[in-house]
Amino acid sequence: MLRAMARALLEPVAAGQTRFRMQGLTPDARGIAVGREALVVFQSLDRLVSFLGAYSVEASLDVLLPSMTLERGRATVGGGVVLLLRCEAADGYALDRLSRLAGAARSQLYAGAGSVFVRYRESAAPFGYDLAASLAELLAEVRGGAGPDPSRGTGLTVDEVAVVDHDFASIYRSAERIDPISLIQRLELRQRPLPLTGLASDPELAGLRDMALVLVAPGIAERVLAYLWRKEVPMAGVRVTLSEDRRPSLLLRLRQPRGRLLDVLRPIPGVELLVPVSPRAAVEVGYVHPIHLASASSCLPGDEMYLFRGRAGRVERIDGAPRFVDGRYLVQTEVHLREAEFEVDPVEMRDAGQLRIDLRLQPSSRVREPRATLVPWAQIEYLRRLIYLIPPSALAAARMVPLRDGLMVLSGGGRRGDGRTLSAGTVLPLGQRFAEVAPGVLIPDGQELWPRLRPQLVRELLNLEGDDYAVFLAPGSDPIHIADEQLLALDAAVVGTLETQEAALVEPSLPALEPGSVSNERLGRFALWGFRSQQDS
């Protein structure tokens, strides 16, 4: 694979050196010898994966991937297979990072361009290395005299790469090209231990605290859905067809799930909990992808969503971003119509005319909160003054209608039955008060409808619709009907048109401070006549 040399093949670059023996090397801003590209030689695949994983944690793989190529190389001399990673790196800082990470993955970084690369800088040579002899001679020695004539150039073919280190040089021939994206997608997940006491004991719920995806096998989807529905878990879901399944599986999204629930779901066969690691990727809980997927969105092309399943050892691609549907529409509901279990004889109907009675008002001692008041026109001046005292909530809810007997002030809010609003009828100590015996049915205070019918029935008997009112003004009189559109808002009715005046805008009194500006006033011919300094006096 490589050929060791008796003499040093490289020499350190001196500070300020601008000319190099190797073509393609140039000094960067700090004087470090760099080329257009960087080459990392990995002895095995696991080192490459370690490198990519470390890089994705520290920086974004999206920056590296567009210019990155990955090849399986075979040494021309001695055999041996290595993995060659090439990428653009014309900057000393980027190369420093690559070198550091390659060192961590027990591999070596080389700088150069085209087909020749030399060792990158290290502590012994802070400005990098240059070739100690011409490249053609070196390569001739590598090939052991065989191969093309050194005087006719390097003799490297298009798919060959020469790597020169301190004491050896080697030539690799590209055997196979590997797509880095498909490599990353095919990587096996690594297991990550989960808390023995269950997910609930982990404050972060193993990454599921904010959102959890649950992939449910088709056979148990309905039962899991029913369970979650019973537990009133807020969820959304979508049915997705996985590559080898005939029936669609169920993918559920649970926002901020409870830890206890996750502990119940996780051991169920056919249920997989997935941790969303990026908007388009999720990894099964208990596993971790070797690459930090959040920084490698270009590894996942298209709009598909990727589910990395650890136990199944598969990567599922879901066409398009999943459009989750609210859980209530996923639950299967069974509607049964009850059948009559036995037959009954029809009742013989008769006319009930003799039972008809009138609805009357009778005095009552029952205390009710007044909902309206009828202010006689003679007392309208008092009302005008008392309006100032009505609390704002009561005033906002109050409505009025002018009747022949007086002005009826109805309080809103009371019809809702919440009892929290203080009604205007309570506040106004004027006129005849009315209480509400049924929704929209008002009777004078101290009276009661007789017989005591259900409130809803009273409303139906009076043909009330919507927010209409029926008012019994006095015992013995027929009720009057007030339609909703006849009611006016009290606050709007009592206040006339308001006229606004244009606001007088005032400039800020203090102008901003700025640097002064010199004005050289014109000096006369006798400007210094009579100038007296202290010495003169």
Partner: protein
């Protein structure tokens, strides 16, 4: 009063109206020779700019004034103007641009002398000097008198120093509108003046040939007398020299104003003023270099003996560039010029006084400089600004300071304690920045600084 240039404002106003251009000064203000007039025409526009007191409120420069004029001002009727509430408010607002709650003493005779001295400096740079019929000896007396007006002892308290900074800091910020008239003979520059009407004769230059240019007064070339006086101006206000170390006088040391760096509001103001500068690395280099020179460590840290000055100071840069005093763009040939001025005029400024300091002062200066690095890292501005152009010893000292942080921490503390907790990425950027600096600064410099400069701070610190 009759022998004072009290007649000048009247004469000048006549000339200006004759020029047919806009009126530059407030018409209603009293004459310049009176205290209210001097305040309204010079001091208020100097401190507040043209916006204060209405548009067109310019810093008027008339004939130079002396201590005799000062006595006359104080003896006149309007001397109470110094203590007026409007003026007091203006001073407070000007001071609030630096610190939120300034404490200022009432203006006194010394401050009036300082304003008169600044006016004298501007008057000595007046383009009409050559028109004045007088002997050159008189101009030397004017210069001596201006220097006497600017002779101050070191401020006794911080409020006094702040009051001086108000005037001197505003003086450094002064601007000037030059009018450049294009004529067939070339361009004529009228410095801070409207071109005279005779330039616009019937067939002469069209007003469209006149363009205006706003320049910063201090950055333009000056007459030799003014250049000799500028160090005196800067000695008056140690706070201004600290805020603008590029204009610091020869022999200046940041330890002279270390008191301000030991006060939290002032230290914050100073650091952020430095950070606003585009050339913050050069400024940091000046401060760090001046500190090293004061402590006499330059030869010790940098084995060879560097030159006498601190690189980066404007005076030194101009000296290196071969720029001397200049009478730039004299309106007409032969109108201006001081042929008799000794160019080698040397420095007539007083030599730098002996600085008394303790290790806390040195620590405060180092802490402020390190904080400057930190601010720039926070602003994502650090790496962009540090190029390879400035490689002098002063800048290297400045760039080495964050690398000394671990040694200085026992005394100065760590800047990352609270910040790093709130922002982990910031802590990482700060470490990356320090690694970047470690690649720029030679290791020997860092080690020498640890052995010398750091010892001045932590030497007697109880372990």
């Amino acid at each position: 009063m009759s022998n004072l240039p009290a007649h000048e404002p009247d004469a000048s106003s006549g000339d200006s109206s004759d020029a047919g251009q806009r009126r530059l000064g407030p018409v209603s203000a009293p004459p310049m020779a009176t205290l209210p007039g001097f305040l309204a025409r010079f001091v208020v526009p100097l401190l507040g700019g043209p916006g204060v007191g209405g548009d067109g409120h310019w810093v008027e420069v008339h004939a130079p004034m002396s201590a005799t004029d000062r006595e006359a001002m104080l003896a006149s009727k309007g001397s109470g103007a110094l203590l007026s509430s409007e003026f007091s408010t203006l001073r407070t607002r000007a001071a609030q641009r630096l610190v939120a709650e300034p404490h200022l003493p009432d203006p006194n005779v010394d401050e009036l002398s300082l304003w008169l001295g600044l006016h004298g400096v501007l008057a000595l740079d007046h383009p009409d000097i050559s028109r004045v019929w007088t002997r050159s000896k008189t101009w030397q007396r004017v210069e001596t008198e201006t220097r006497a007006l600017l002779a101050f002892a070191r401020p006794r308290a911080m409020d006094e120093a702040l009051a001086r900074h108000l005037a001197v800091g505003a003086f450094l910020e002064l601007r000037r509108v030059d009018h450049i008239v294009a004529t067939p003979d070339g361009e004529l520059r009228y410095r801070g003046q409207a071109p005279p009407r005779r330039r616009f004769s019937l067939f002469g230059a069209d007003p469209v040939d006149v363009r205006s240019e706003s320049v910063r007064w201090i950055e333009r070339p000056h007459r030799a007398a003014v250049q000799r006086l500028l160090p005196d101006v800067m000695w008056v206000s140690p706070l201004t020299a600290l805020l603008a170390p590029g204009w610091a006088p020869p022999g200046w040391s940041p330890l002279m104003a270390a008191t301000f760096l030991r006060s939290r509001p002032y230290a914050r103001a100073v650091c952020h003023t430095w950070a606003r500068e585009r050339e913050w690395v050069r400024l940091g280099g000046i401060v760090a270099g001046s500190l090293l020179r004061t402590l006499e460590l330059v030869a010790e840290v940098f084995a060879d003996k560097p030159g006498p000055g601190v690189p980066g100071v404007v005076a030194a840069m101009r000296r290196d560039a071969g720029e001397g005093s200049s009478d730039e763009g004299a309106p007409e040939t032969g109108e201006a010029g001081e042929a008799g001025e000794p160019e080698e005029g040397a420095r007539l400024a007083l030599p730098a006084p002996k600085v008394e300091f303790d290790r806390h002062d040195v620590g405060a200066v180092l802490g402020a400089l390190i904080h400057l690095h930190l601010i720039k890292v926070l602003e994502f501005d650090a790496r962009i600004s540090i190029g390879l152009s400035a490689r002098d010893w002063a800048v290297q000292t400045f760039l080495a300071l964050p690398l000394l942080l671990s040694r200085l921490e026992p005394v100065l503390g760590s800047p990352l304690d609270e910040l790093a907790l709130a922002d982990e990425s910031f802590a990482r950027r700060w470490e990356e920045y320090r690694e970047h600096l470690a690649g720029l600064v030679p290791r020997t410099v860092v080690e020498n600084l640890v052995a010398t400069l750091v010892q001045r701070v932590v030497q007697r610190h109880p372990q």
